[in-house]
Point group: C2
Chain length 452, copies 2
């Protein structure tokens, strides 16, 4: 018995339902309804716990997970370029311009071949699920058929997903062999894809959602951005794009519009409660205020940023300003398909920003003191934080949330994590898992109560 629809599970749970608060509960009793949502969470100290446990045992609907294994919420990856899956981990040593023109654009252009697309996308979605990514936010390509196959594959494999047809029509910024034929093409193609996902048979619960996806401001004409903004409002759907990722991008938009990315996106109606802004490393305080007011969220991609962003995202400042933030792998700008690797990288990047990097400077002027985050905050970003950016009830174990979860086994031959009950407190165990777990430790992954 591994699927949990209409059943209950008894396990140690580790979660961070709010930012920085670690919740470690042994022998927690979670009940899952027929729709895959958590209908009850009882802790041993709760009233009615013993009776409820007896009841589900007697009814034969209890899955008792092994002691020494830990149930954690599934990961929410807010930023993935699905077509870049074949180049994960390569070409990170070349300049951005070569990375785009010699590797990325030619690769993305191949998705006009739907057979190629199906092979790659199936491998990607399977891999991410095994890595514990139960919710994924994808950029597709400009190709209608390939994007539809990506939606089909997520749906068939059961992954929670937000997917966008990439809109890119600017002739000066996009290669002739890989761009939308016109602004109208960007807009109608996006609209068609939204309709396709909306009418996907079996997707009535909206587990797969569409997103309006201007690649980034530089690659879109004003007409396209304007039409996409109207479309997002008309269809009331998610928006995803890159925002102030690098010095180059930030400066390019300033030069073209006399405004920052954030302001331009806002002016075009692309900054809403449903917007996910990838990166945002170079946003100003005013940009942050605008993002918070709009209720948009940031996909912080710490590993990718080391390679392509020229600076570290000011995460602590964003959290202090109540900007919603989650994490992204940015496949393949980042070299890892593991959101947990990025959770660790977020800790490390925040440390670098906190203390600075150049030992030749005085400690007081080396970095931005107070920027660090700990494993509790990083784990929140990887789970509940990302879910909150999307306003999807997942990323935590709470009544009403989807049961999207990972069973973590530290005692695996090929990926052992040293845990000693005599030496390690609950906090220690949680930190060890966050800092060390890899896919080899994920013995089971559920989306919506079903093993995937």
């Amino acid at each position: 018995m591994t699927d949990l629809l209409g059943k209950s599970v008894l396990s140690t749970i580790i979660q961070t339902p709010t930012c920085g608060a670690l919740d470690f509960v042994e022998r927690a009793l979670l009940s899952i309804d027929d729709a895959g949502k958590i209908s009850a969470l009882l802790r041993p100290a709760d009233e009615g716990y013993a009776e409820a446990l007896d009841q589900v045992r007697q009814n034969g609907i209890l899955l008792e997970l092994p002691a020494g294994q830990y149930l954690i919420p599934g990961f929410v990856d807010l930023h993935i370029h699905a077509p870049q899956w074949p180049q994960l981990g390569k070409a990170l040593d070349v300049p951005l311009e070569d990375w785009l023109q010699e590797y990325t654009f030619p690769l993305e252009a191949r998705y006009g071949d739907v057979v190629f697309a199906e092979r790659i996308y199936a491998d990607l979605v399977k891999t991410l699920l095994a890595n514990g990514t139960t919710t994924a936010v994808y950029f597709g390509t400009i190709h209608q058929e390939a994007n539809r196959r990506l939606a089909d594959i997520c749906h068939a494999l059961g992954q929670r997903a937000v997917i966008g047809k990439v809109a890119m029509d600017h002739p000066e910024q996009c290669p002739s062999y890989y761009r939308d034929a016109s602004a109208q093409d960007s807009i109608s193609g996006t609209s068609d894809f939204i309709d396709y996902v909306g009418s996907l048979p079996g997707n009535e619960d909206g587990r797969v959602l569409p997103a309006v996806t201007p690649r980034f401001v530089p690659s879109c004409s004003g007409r396209a951005l304007s039409g996409l903004g109207r479309l997002a409002e008309d269809k009331d759907c998610h928006v995803q794009t890159h925002c102030s990722e690098s010095d180059w991008e930030h400066g390019h938009v300033l030069a073209r519009f006399g405004k920052t990315d954030t302001q331009v996106l806002s002016d075009f109606g692309l900054l809403s409660r449903k917007t996910v802004l990838a990166h945002s490393n170079h946003i100003s305080d005013a940009d942050m205020d605008l993002i918070r007011q709009a209720g948009s969220g940031v996909a912080h991609c710490p590993l990718s940023n080391f390679f392509f962003s020229d600076a570290v995202f000011p995460l602590r400042r964003a959290l202090e300003k109540s900007v919603r933030v989650g994490l992204g792998t940015d496949i393949s700008g980042g070299p890892s398909a593991s959101l947990l690797d990025n959770c660790r990288a977020a800790i490390v990047a925040a440390r670098a920003l906190d203390h600075g990097v150049d030992a030749g400077l005085q400690p007081s002027s080396r970095g931005i003191a107070g920027s660090r985050i700990d494993f509790r905050e990083a784990f929140y970003l990887a789970t509940a934080g990302g879910a909150d950016v999307l306003d999807i009830p997942t990323g935590r174990f709470e009544t009403g949330c989807h049961f999207d979860a990972i069973l973590v086994d530290p005692d695996v031959e090929t990926a052992p994590i040293f845990i000693d009950a005599g030496l390690d407190s609950p906090d220690d165990i949680a930190q060890k898992l966050v800092m060390q777990a890899t896919r080899g430790n994920f013995s089971r992954v559920w989306v919506n109560g079903v093993v995937r």
Copy 2:
């Protein structure tokens, strides 16, 4: 047939015998002698290749490794605190003082219990071997028996190792429950341990070597440092210590001696061709020159440095000055027992130093341009670079070197690396493996021609 003494192996090899130079050879033919050293390396284009291949085939002494798997040199981890193994990945969220006084010193003090020591050390050495660490440089504790067991275990499990009894006698810097009773105790304890390793039965080839190991300058009295320097010269053995790791340590030594760590170590006779300096983040140009002149090497520990060092090691500057550098996990200052994780972290740390971290500064004043390294340089540090710091002939596939190697399989269910012959060049494959491989991909590890 997996042990290779007196045999030959046919495989694709990937190595970086010199810094930054990638050597990718399909169907390389390596011959290993009875002592576990490489007696010949033939490439398909080499004269006599076909004949040699026929010969070993006919003689039935050829191991043909599967196509699609890759042979790489074993990793050299230059800095490991063996007793800290149980706390890997925990307590990284607390201040340094708490980390030392509440976690690290109490844990290290437990190794007075030799049963505890044996259990932990056996688990550690086994894990590191499985992680591909074929050569390891260990700090032990102050305890004679526990240190001996660590040497025994490395010897029994076949790991190449340099091990030191930790010397720490300064009453103001070491807790009363965990320090050498006197300077003389530091010196004689070190001497005894050196003799023990030298007379270890079966260790005549020196696969396990002893090291003089002052914990760091602050924790040692002048008398101890002076005696240890004389001992290192008398016994002609390795030295390992921490050097200018953090602002605090660097400043403490300056205040106590009016000189930098490097100068103090040099004055005490502890800076030699056989010295491994962990960290060295805050060394000056003059320190670097002194290190190069002495022929000492640096154990760069990039992951640990994010947590405890207040800055990034100026790696590019050190390489330009011809300082020898390798990598260390710094278990448990760093949260990973994988040297390959640290190889990746070295790339990321160098990127952070290169571009800087604070987006609020102008790009030109944000970091130190030119500091980045690529995967070829990082992989060199993890293998041949580390070996060269120790002057041990390993870390590369070359006649006369020990056959210390890892077989990497990208096509593993629990740790897949997407490689496509049609899309990936040799350089791409190498970079993908360096950026993505985990222990799950290491199907076999050899030390000295024998599977471990």
